[in-house]
């Protein structure tokens, strides 16, 4: 049963329900926490982007706010040196194999990565981590959209809508480690796969990996 509780985020007192995840409580109250992979409807968050770290009083180490249920009297800080450092590193790692060229990207100015960089004053180009340039075949077989894995941040959002909303079962993760990419079964073109071209995955993509053609 959900009941009303009061928590504090960055000194702001918020009344909310139990059974909610901290990330959504914060976002609903205009407190921005960076996130890429979070999906409100999902009960067991993927927690793969490692960007939504916060510090909670009483806990030794920062936690991902997307997996953290709120409890009565919880005191949260979204910006501490430790949190900032974790978020900065995660962000740099995500961008280390992300093909930038924002001016040529269809998601320019609507990109979640740009938004996080702006909000947290992070740079899109890191000096600390060597950039890995990778070339992939762009799959532009569908009529209205295309898939460019070199811009993918592996957030799982397209896979989630593909399974839970579109119920197509077309996209999934393949290969391992640095080679991990979004593919169809047997790596065929989207039009030759189970894809229904519903474009829900394109709307779910926070970056320019799945994008509408002009």
């Amino acid at each position: 049963m959900s009941e009303k509780i009061t928590i504090t985020i960055d000194g702001k007192e918020i009344t909310t329900d139990t059974e909610k995840k901290l990330l959504w409580v914060a976002l609903d109250n205009d407190i921005y926490i960076p996130n890429l992979c979070a999906i409100r409807e999902e009960e067991r968050p993927y927690a793969g982007c490692r960007l939504c770290f916060v510090e909670i009083e009483g806990l030794e180490e920062p936690v991902t706010s997307c997996t953290q249920p709120v409890t009565e009297g919880m005191v949260v800080k979204t910006r501490t040196p430790q949190v900032d450092r974790l978020v900065k590193t995660s962000f740099e790692l995500l961008l280390s194999d992300h093909r930038l060229q924002c001016n040529k990207c269809p998601k320019n100015k609507a990109c979640e990565l740009q938004k996080i960089a702006r909000e947290r004053k992070l740079k899109l180009k890191s000096k600390r981590i060597k950039h890995l340039e990778r070339t992939f075949q762009i799959d532009d077989s569908p009529e209205s959209f295309a898939l460019d894995p070199s811009r993918c941040v592996l957030c799982n959002r397209c896979v989630w809508v593909d399974r839970n909303v579109a119920k197509a079962g077309c996209l999934g993760f393949s290969y391992r480690g640095i080679n991990r990419i979004i593919t169809t079964f047997n790596n065929v073109e989207l039009t030759k796969s189970a894809c229904t071209q519903c474009t829900l995955c394109v709307e779910a993509c926070p970056v320019g990996a799945l994008y509408f053609k002009e």
Binding site: A168, G169, L171, G172, S174, R176, F185, S193
Partner: protein, 171 residues
């Protein structure tokens, strides 16, 4: 890779048998894949589709784990499998050069098999005779000190270079 004549029936037969041995739950996915590879030598796309149907999963959820684990191979092994050693000693002694030579001569990439399924190419990490570096294994046979010239010698011994193929390589 194209299936050979009659191969489809063999795959369907084996995979149906294997699927009967397991409960159709997702936890059994990896054991099933292992069993398929054990009997067929590789995991054909057709087998993955059959497994997906049996476990009530989208086929891409079978493809994911099959590509994730190094133990699974999705292309059939060649009749002669060239294993180029990339252990530390062989790597330093020019294992990559040997691998490149094989790739050029056979016109396939590492991990692939020639369309006639005669020759396969893969890398291994240390076969335990580093003094012979760089080492290539052909089946159980060990070939040491493999220079590009030696690669040609090995391939000649297995009739891998015909005039036709050589010309293709020159193109």
């Amino acid at each position: 890779m194209e299936l050979l004549e009659g191969e489809k029936e063999v795959i369907v037969n084996y995979v149906e048998g294997i699927l009967e041995e397991f409960d159709p739950v997702q936890e059994n996915l990896v054991p099933i894949l292992q069993e398929v590879q054990e009997r067929l030598g590789y995991i054909p796309a057709l087998a993955m589709e059959m497994i997906a149907t049996a476990l009530d999963l989208p086929p891409v959820d079978v493809y994911g784990p099959a590509t994730f684990y190094n133990q699974f191979r999705l292309v059939p092994p060649g009749k002669y499998q060239f294993k180029v050693c990339m252990g530390t000693a062989c790597y330093m002694a020019g294992g990559q050069i040997a691998l490149d030579s094989f790739e050029r001569r056979l016109n396939i990439k590492e991990g692939e098999t020639t369309p006639d399924r005669e020759f396969g190419l893969e890398h291994v990490t240390c076969v335990g005779c580093c003094t012979l570096a760089p080492v290539v294994m052909v089946g159980d046979q060990v070939e040491g000190h493999v220079t590009p010239t030696r690669v040609d010698g090995i391939l000649l011994a297995y009739d891998a270079i015909t005039d036709e193929k050589e010309n293709e390589g020159d193109k």
